[in-house]
Subunit: 198 residues, 2 copies
């Protein structure tokens, strides 16, 4: 029995969100059965991502270049900075093509439950970017969750000493809603009606 190789692959797959040990085993069997149609493309795609993609050291986006194509694009409005929890949120906003500025990815949200503190996120780097000047508006585009809003309030306090307008996405987001799951229309409305943080 090829137990060690298969166990290692099963465990690696089982660590993905949405796959438990049982479904990881099913996935491994599928990969073994459909090697050319399934295993080879997955291996190739994963190797390319591993080889080509890196995290932008300015904004935290994931791209084939560092700085990323958004940070490097001179047509983007450098005076507007949109702060998001995760890269997925950045991508959701980019798909909507509604925000002309640049981004800052926190890498998560403050969470007492999960023990995530300010120093676990890229908050110091964000404050550093704003401190360098040249930014007029900071859009806090946190998820409409308790933790997202707690994070937004914390960020608003950290930023209030700078001469920038701090806004957040309009409510109208469904309660408990996560940016990455919203349709573009809802996102567009929320972005258009963004308002100053009280």
């Amino acid at each position: 029995m090829a137990s060690s190789e298969i166990d290692a692959l099963t465990q690696a797959l089982a660590r993905l969100p949405g796959l438990g040990p049982r479904s990881a085993r099913r996935a491994v069997l599928h990969l073994l059965k459909k090697r050319e149609a399934s295993l080879t493309p997955l291996l190739h795609a994963l190797a390319l991502v591993d080889e080509r993609l890196e995290t932008c050291s300015t904004c935290g986006n994931v791209d084939t270049a560092n700085p990323c194509s958004i940070c490097a694009d001179p047509r983007r409005d450098s005076r507007a900075l949109c702060v998001v929890e995760e890269v997925a949120d950045l991508w959701a906003l980019e798909r909507s093509r509604l925000f002309p500025g640049r981004f800052h990815v926190l890498g998560g949200r403050l969470s007492a439950l999960e023990g995530i503190r300010p120093e676990d996120l890229t908050i110091d780097a964000l404050v550093g970017r704003i401190g360098q000047g040249g930014i007029d508006e900071v859009v806090l585009a946190m998820n409409a969750t308790l933790e997202g809003q707690t994070t937004a309030h914390y960020l608003a306090e950290r930023i209030e000493r700078f001469p920038v307008r701090v806004t957040q996405l309009a409510h109208g987001l469904p309660v408990g809603g996560e940016l990455d799951y919203l349709d573009e229309g809802t996102l567009a409305q929320a972005l258009r009606a963004r308002r100053p943080v009280a």
Copy 2:
């Protein structure tokens, strides 16, 4: 945006059973965020499976050697042959350590609905193995599903001209149950009480 690499990986993951497009995207983001803890081990495990594992040309098992360790093991009882639908079923039986003989993996089950015909499975190879002689008993260890039982009846007819005892796992398997999902106790009981095909 690193869209092509990420899209390719998302699509490759979305093809796995249990992952749709939405959860594949979540998985990709997880892999990008936890590169060292998640992407690197998965890439490594997948590359090892791709490099080391092959399908046994005798029985259809997946192993690091061809013939596989079961086919090559002289302590296995070569007179008993257990026919299973999938490699997963072979592994389930091996985990129970109850069957001392060798295996034959069909690669599926007959299915009018899915258009799977006898020639899509390794039935000719099975008949060939039995025709070579030296086998006393063929255990038809199909799933207790309609399609599994249809396949077992078809196989029993194809095999009846040979001087072998054809048995099948005792009923007592839950109706609709799939071998791979059963606990070892149930499997053990079904194997112990196996009976000749009527």
